[in-house]
Every structure is written in C-alpha cells, then in structure tokens.
C-alpha cells in the first residue's frame, strides 16, 4: 500500500441519506491508500454527519449548494474535476449514479477510466468483469496517471461506522456550470422491504410468475424471510414489477447470502447479476432450465405449488 497517494471518493446520496454503495467504494479506496477523503456534493448539510463516521476516511469535504440537489452529472463533473487536481485517484460507486457521472470527470481531466473495479491487486493493478462477468480482466494503468474509476459494490464489504473524521466545508470552485439540463422528477416507489443491494436474502421472480398479481406470493415469502424482492428482465418488461427491481447485467448486481430464483430460466445476462450470491436456490418446472447449471440447490417444481408448501413449512 502506497500511503502517499491521495484518493477522493464521491459520496452517493438519495433523499437525505448516503447510499451504502458509497461505503463499499471507501473500502476499495482503503485498499489503495490510507489517504482517503470523501466528497459530499449536496444541498443537505445533515449528510456530513453520516459521512464523517465511515471508517477509513481522513477528511470529509462538503459543498452545500442547491445546484447539487439532484446529482446532475454535467453540473457535478467540472466541480469534481477541479477538486481532483490535488488527488491521484477519484473513485465512485458503480451504480447508475457513478456510471453517469465519472466519465464526465475523466473527460475534463483527459484520462482513461476503469469501470467496475472488483479487486485491488496493487495500487496500479485491478480486476474487473467484462462480457457480463463471463470473463475477468486484470488491467494495469500507467504510472503517474490520475486514476478515475467506479467500484463494483457487490465485490466489497461495507466499512464500519465508528469514525469521527473532520469535516471541511469548501466554497463552490469557480468553474463553468451549464444550465442545459433540468431535473423534472423521479418516480420511486416507497419500498416496504429491505433494499435489493443490501438485503441478505433476495427472492426473485421471472416470466414464469405470470402476472403482477402473482408476484404477491413472492412478497409473502419475502416478508416471512425478511427478504428483498427482485426480478428478471422478462418480468420487468412484462410489467409485473418496476424497473428498479431488475437483477442482472443491465439491472442490479447483487451479492446476498441467499438468492431464490422462481420461474427464471437462467440467461447469462441474469446470472451476471447474482454471480457473487452465497447460495442460489432455483425453482423451475423445466428440468432442463439453464438456471440449474449454476444453482446450489435446484428443485423441479411448479412455483405455485412449491411456494405455498414452502411457506407452510416455515411456520
């Protein structure tokens, strides 16, 4: 670990809370260097308190401004690039937030970027997934070049929250900030269950579930197990559930201890999202469904018969 290298982590927040993927990015940063600062751009002064508790953070840098209310990449990128001038690394979580934002920072800084760090080999060498996780690249980035990267949350554990890092309020740097992008709103359903990306148990349903109404039985099971509910792309496309429940290459990449796939065939794009799950249980009525090739526990059954039976055995 080269401790003189300085790492800036960009905090992701939503509706007044810092999102857990930030903590995983901090974990990755701490494996690169011990000099890690966290940048919080928001219009909510209360966030810095939470930010300062993350273990491994030296200093929390804060700019409070209404400009940052909705995390618009074209507004944040020039500000981050300016602050990054005194850092060797800029890291953000590999979420839709981080993926939207960081390439603009890279372009201002005129450097190449690494998407989805899944392992730190040394301060210049990293592993990342390609082809939806069906291959792993080991890459080395040139010496002396600033590194901008996103961190794959499913590959890192959360850091603790017993720190009390100092908080420094910065002035908005004088950079050109565009006004060509306007936030109009977000449709986000209030979730009664644990977040998909942090839940230790996830119950997913696919096209085999058949309808939005039929998903009810999965919700029942989820509530029994304290689980979150996910879905395949086919289930989202068919309108059974909203898009933010999609698991897979183009949905969420998750790493629960226990994953249930009900009526999901097991396409590689779906598997890409659950490669890091602890135990995968698949229930499918087709004995040849490819999901059985990767499941730890497979059961050939009709999900509508199986789940009520399973529920009764859990009582």
């Amino acid at each position: 670990m080269t401790s003189d290298q300085k790492v800036l982590v960009i905090a992701e927040h939503f509706q007044g809370e810092i999102i857990s993927s930030t903590s995983k990015a901090i974990n990755c940063a701490s494996q690169i260097s011990s000099q890690v600062d966290l940048l919080v751009l928001s219009n909510d002064p209360n966030l810095s308190d939470h930010a300062s508790r993350y273990d491994g953070i030296n200093e929390v840098l804060v700019i409070n401004d209404d400009l940052f209310e909705n995390s618009i990449a074209s507004i944040m990128a020039p500000v981050i690039a300016e602050i990054a001038s005194s850092y060797d690394y800029v890291l953000a979580p590999s979420t839709t937030f981080g993926k939207d934002l960081t390439p603009r920072v890279s372009a201002v800084l005129d450097v190449s970027q690494i998407t989805d760090i899944m392992e730190v080999i040394d301060s210049r060498t990293f592993k990342r997934p390609v082809y939806a996780g069906n291959a792993i690249e080991t890459i080395e980035i040139n010496q002396g070049q600033k590194v901008v990267a996103t961190v794959r949350p499913a590959s890192f554990k959360d850091v603790g929250d017993s720190n009390n890092a100092s908080v420094k309020i910065l002035d908005l740097p004088s950079v050109d900030i565009p006004n060509h992008t306007r936030f109009k709103g977000i449709q986000s359903e209030v979730k009664e269950r644990p977040d998909l990306q942090v839940a230790s148990v996830v119950i997913s349903g696919g096209r085999g579930v058949g309808s939005a109404e039929n998903f009810e039985i999965l919700y029942q099971l989820a509530d029994k197990l304290g689980a979150s509910v996910g879905a395949s792309r086919a289930a989202v496309d068919a309108g059974y559930v909203p898009n933010d429940m999609q698991v897979g290459q183009t949905g969420k990449i998750i790493a629960p201890d226990l994953y249930f796939a009900f009526g999901i065939s097991g396409a590689i794009q779906h598997i890409a999202g659950i490669k890091d799950a602890g135990t995968i249980v698949a229930v499918n009525k087709d004995p040849d469904a490819p999901i059985f090739e990767i499941a730890d526990i497979g059961i050939v059954a009709d999900l509508f018969e199986f789940i009520p039976d399973f529920l009764s055995k859990l009582d």
């Binding site: 990449a73 937030f97 890279s106 291959a135 890459i139 060509h180 526990i297 497979g298």
Partner: protein, 251 residues
Amino acid sequence: MEKILVCIKRVIDYNVKIRIKPDESGVITDGVKMSINPFDEIALEEALRIKESGNANEVIIVSIGPDDTQQQLRTGLAMGADRAIHIEHPTPLEPIQVAKLLSRIVEQEQPELILMGKQAIDDDANQTGQMLAQIFSYPQATFASKITLTGNTLEVVREVDQGLEILDVDLPAIVTVDLRLNEPRYVKLPDIMKAKKKPLEVLDPVSLDVSLDPSIKVLNVSAPPPRQSGVMLEDASQLVSSLKEKGLLND
C-alpha cells in the same frame, strides 16, 4: 432537426457463450458470430423512428473498428440509416480515445442529437457517451427508456437505481439508451440490397489527429471462478432442512 448521429460498436453476438483464449490473452472471436451491440441497435431504431415521425432529416451511423465492422454498418444502413462512417482501427481502443475520435465526427457533421447504447456488451464500460458529452459540454441523459422531443428540448425518462428519473435536456444533446426504449425492427432482404448502394465513408484515424497511445494494459483475461456444482432436491421440506443445515434459516 437536421441530423442524428448514432454510434455503433461491433461486438460478439449476445447469444454467444464466450470462450477465453487458452493463453488468457483475450476472448476468442475467430469464427464467432458478431453483431451490432444490442443497446446501439436500440439507439439506431430510436433515431429512425424520430426521422420517420418527421422530426429529423438524416440519420448517420458511425463505428470504429476493424475492416469487418462494415458488416454491422451495412446492417445499420439496411435498418434505414442514410449513410455510414467507418473509422478503421484494427484493435480495441479505450473509451476516452473512442470519444475523442467520435468528437471529430461530431465537429464535422454537427448533429443536433447523438444516440448510442448505454454500454457495449463486450467491455461493459459505460463511458463513451458521457465522455463525448463532456468534450462539448453537451447535456447527457444516460439509461434512457423513453424520449419525447418538444421543439428544442428532449424529455428523457432514465432507468436509475432508485426508479425512473425524468430530465429535460436542451439540444444538442447525447442520449445513451437502455433496453426498454424500443424493440428494433428486423431488416428485410430488399433493404439489404438497397443498403449496398448507400454511402459508406472510410476514415483513417491518423487523419483525425487523436492520440491513440494506450494508458491501460490488459495483463490477462481469465474465466471467473467456477461455482461449486449444486444438488437437486425434491420438495420444500428438503429445502427447509438443507437451508437450516447451512445456517441460512433459523430454527
């Protein structure tokens, strides 16, 4: 608007199960079916629909890649693009280099709208569109699942982790598209014939004056660690005992 530019990439077809070269230097592409990156195909479909609704005059496609990339450009022309630009480069480039090469085409063509996939399914980088947007300080809307044009403004619905976000962006703008935006059309045989006569310009990247020195070296490409092979169980009671044994269910 006058022009829409759509950026497309030639990738291994999404149905192909990739194989890694025995020397771990990369992925086997010889004799493997190649296609337009599925997200880019959706971007092209969207451009064509905007043109067909009378809101654009010309759809131009551009791709950077080896000489075979012209197959994918011909497919794009058969789908309905008006002309194609091929920047010929034999080996993979880093997204920042791709964005800079594309920026030369944007300077030349001055499109009001630039569309491309949110990521390519080979390197899964998800960078190029955002970098290109920043080069011109253009607005961007990534992960688009719905686009509505009103005058000089695009309303874009974005599929983000928290749900569906709605942004308004002023043109010129860059939109990177997600899967649910549309379903691309199938090309018909007569269109393939017609596409052969459409203009396809080939450019040498050297003429575009962009540094192509790599800053990231791929040391090795390997298979992900295999999962332990699983067991098949008969019913719910067996599952309950098995999960209890693993400590995944409380008694």
